[in-house]
Amino acid sequence: MIYQSVDQTELTRLLEQLSRADSKMQLTAASQLGRLGIRSRSHGTARGSFFIAASPRLSQAQERILLQPLTGDQPDLRREIAFAVGEWAGEAATPALATIAQTDADSQTRITAAKALAKIGGRQAVLTLRTIARKDEHEDVRAAAIEGLGLLASASVVVDRIAATDQEVAHTLQLLDEIRKIDTSQYVRTLADGTLTRLAA
């Protein structure tokens, strides 16, 4: 069992709080949703993998409420929401997260969105993370994407029993190999190298 049962009354209350106008209350609700998401799933279990996106833990209506503040004008709230989306949403949230991960002006928000994509997984998330790993101007965002790709590839090998020679996985490994050689940041090169070593092991 990946997930434990969630107090639906509490979940509903938090989502309602999220739709109110008071930004401080929205921020609190977003943080609490993130915590609740983690506290109600098992340790060490990946939500999604390279090929299979995580199942949503919310109804479509609830997911819409959750995604709403993602495009708001408060970076703090966008970050907390992005985190919560990674814990609760399924593949339907990927386009919105991908946009934030690639275009948000705030690098911390892009990092959180990239990490959320890595939790949800699936092909579109992988493609977005590949793009970010190559192109984002901030080394921490590229690093987050690399770690995310590593997590998803690892989950695929373990959960989906996909061999590392699979073409999709092989492409990602090739990309990591390229990044570890040419990225301008020593930190990013180190992470790419470490992720490759880890996957090889």
């Binding site: 993130g34 690093a143 470490g194 070593t197």
Partner: protein, 638 residues
């Protein structure tokens, strides 16, 4: 001047990099989960989940980047303690060997032998009805000390083996075990200075050593390119470490290292058919039991009198009436720079004069001191039948000479760092404090010894003691208590830096430094703590690289919670922080790893979560504290 060791230079650092390259992204996810799902909400919920994620990432990045730091080219001298450490690795089979052998030596059955040992462990008394922690008088005491330490909440002791027959008996056994099972016994350069020099040399730093006696057996354990400083006439010279002198005495420790789960019951059952035992206990953690030689030994010594000589010509005897303590074979340990000679029936130690100290100061930038607690050595605290101290003048002479040496070195610009260890009672602590005050501004100590000096009943009423609180001293809030103890000790010793190496997080107190130096201390600590694990592996196992490749750094919940608890405590401190700034202070401390005290007389606080990997079974951690402290001091250049 010592050279760095080309063959070893950077070897550990290179390996450390490889090792961290394997740092898995899963570690961050796993730690985030553990903190939010299992951490105390009162602490963890002060940061949002996203902030926690960013926080962990920031530390992880800092850790990785700390590996790229340049190693210093300053010159380090490690003084004064070096011993030969013989480590006997106990697994269940070796414990069985030992128990059966010892029982047979005493002509006892295994149940009778273990029963006697259990009785002594229960009472804490040795075979002469004195404390087990002070002395092992026979083979029963050796097992009793183990069983004592294996009880919950206890740790390994350091009893002395005064009786040469017992030492010989144990040596014979250990030698036989080494032949039968080579993996079970390793011999290493030990002692605080030996441990320090070993790890710094392995890092490729320019390090030399100084100790009074250098027997061939000890020399054989030293890396060959390590330089040993010797004072001869009015000169200081360097010798390669393989040049031991057979006229020198030597000192050994026999160390039983053990792993969780060992039991004596299977041996009893093997003999009697039933697992009878009135004292069921087993170690809960990896630890060790050190059986010390009480002094340096060379039985065929030609002297019977000991004299301390000052450069001025003043002489003070060290008395040992009827060879009561040294028993015709022991040699005094003197934590001083100087030169000794045997002449007729007299052993004379002449302390270094100012010119020699100046020569030392010119050769070194840093001196890492250990063994100063020898001021509390039984020889220097001998009493006559009337209970009067007979070596008080000698002790005073040594303390004054120590004070003069340290004061001169400090005045010549040498940075002095001391590892605080073995201060078992307030008088010894006072002697050491008075000897170093004003000269030694930097010290290291492990968390257990810090708790001992500032919290045990022995120290109650002394200036080192800090009254206990009701709060539990374990867990995140316990770490705050550790900080309070460290602050108290740093003030009691008037230190500018105190480094407390711990199992969950390291704590560094510094005062009078700019922020940049505080931050450098943090980066040095991250590096030091990890690289020492490799140093321990390297000295213990010939295939250490293979073993190292299997290990990985682990981000541990306890360390991060300790940091968060400390940040919270500082943020809540009314005197230090304006209430409006509390949230900012909490975040700054947690993310930066330090809180900067703007009062130049106050201490800034650095907390670094420990990221040690899980050590492979059987790895001896003897001397790890010394090694970590030395590496931190060398890399931080505080």
């Amino acid at each position: 001047m010592p050279n760095s060791s080309p063959a070893l230079a950077g070897q550990l650092q290179n390996w450390f990099r490889t090792w961290l390259n394997r740092l898995p992204g899963e570690e961050e996810e796993s730690l985030l989960y553990e903190l939010i799902a299992d951490g105390p909400a009162s602490l963890v919920d002060q940061l949002s989940p996203n902030e926690l994620q960013q926080w962990i990432r920031a530390w992880n990045k800092r850790f990785i980047l700390s590996l790229g730091q340049e190693l210093p080219r300053e010159r380090f001298l490690c003084a004064f303690t070096a011993v030969e450490d013989t480590i006997y690795r106990l697994d269940q089979a070796e414990l069985g060997h030992f128990v059966r052998w010892a029982a047979a030596e005493l002509k006892l059955s295994v149940p009778e032998f273990t029963h006697q040992a259990a009785t002594r462990a229960r009472t804490g008394k040795n075979g002469q009805n004195r404390s087990l922690t002070d002395e092992s008088v026979d083979l029963v005491d050796l097992l009793a000390a183990l069983l004592w330490a294996w009880q919950p909440g206890r740790a390994g002791l350091r009893p002395a083996m005064m009786d040469s027959a017992l030492r010989e008996q144990l040596n014979t056994y250990i030698t036989a075990r080494k032949q039968a099972n080579p993996h079970s016994v390793i011999t290493l350069l030990g002692g605080a200075a030996g441990n320090m020099a070993g790890v710094l040399h392995g890092l490729g730093l320019r390090v030399g050593v100084y100790w009074t006696y250098h027997a061939p057996d000890l020399a054989a354990l030293c890396p060959q390119s390590l330089g040993r400083l010797a004072l001869e006439g009015n000169k200081t010279r360097f010798y390669p470490e393989n040049s031991g002198d057979p006229t020198h005495p030597k000192r050994r420790s026999v160390i039983f290292s053990y792993a969780p789960g060992l039991q004596t019951e299977p041996e009893i059952e093997a003999e009697t058919g039933k697992p009878e035992s009135g004292f069921k206990t087993e170690p809960q953690t990896f630890d060790r039991q050190i059986y010390r030689y009480p002094f340096f030994v060379r039985p065929e010594r030609g002297w019977s009198k000991m004299v301390l000589a000052a450069p001025s010509g003043q002489q003070v005897p060290i008395l040992d009436p009827d060879d009561r303590l040294l028993r015709g074979e022991g040699w005094p340990f003197l934590p001083l720079f100087g030169e000794w000679r045997e002449s007729g029936d007299t052993f004379t130690f002449t302390v270094a004069d100012d010119a020699q100290i100046q020569q030392i100061a010119r050769r070194f930038d840093y001196i890492l001191l250990s063994g100063l607690q020898a001021l509390g050595d039984p020889l220097l605290n001998l009493k006559n039948a009337a209970g009067q101290e007979i070596n008080e003048p000698a002790r005073h002479f040594i303390q004054q000479a120590m004070r003069r040496h340290l004061s001169l070195l400090a005045r010549y610009g040498v940075r002095l760092h001391m590892e605080i260890s073995g201060l078992y009672n307030p008088p010894v602590a006072r002697l050491v404090r008075d000897a170093i005050q004003g000269s030694v501004k930097s010290a290291g100590i492990n968390q257990e010894e810090l708790a001992q000096i500032t919290g045990s009943g022995t120290f109650r009423g002394s200036p080192f003691f800090l009254a206990a609180r009701r709060e539990n001293e374990t867990g995140p809030t316990g770490f705050v208590r550790r900080y309070e103890r460290a602050l108290h000790l740093a003030q009691a010793f008037n230190l500018d830096q105190l480094y407390v190496h711990g199992n969950d997080a390291d704590l560094i107190l510094v005062r009078g430094l700019p922020r940049g130096a505080v931050r450098q201390a943090l980066l040095a600590n991250l590096f030091a703590k990890g690289v020492v694990v490799l140093a321990l592996l390297r000295r213990s196992q010939s295939d250490w690289q293979k073993e190292a490749a299997r290990m990985g750094i682990v981000l541990k919940k306890d360390g991060f919670l300790a940091l968060l608890a400390m940040a919270d405590a500082i943020a809540q401190d009314t005197f230090l922080v304006h209430p409006d700034d509390r949230e900012t202070i909490l975040r700054q401390f947690a993310f930066n790893g330090y809180w900067y005290n703007r009062d130049p007389k106050g201490y800034s606080v650095v907390v670094v979560p420990v990221m040690w990997p899980d050590l492979p079974p059987g790895l001896s951690t003897v001397g790890a504290g010394d090694a970590v402290s030395a590496t931190f001091t060398a890399l931080s250049l505080l």
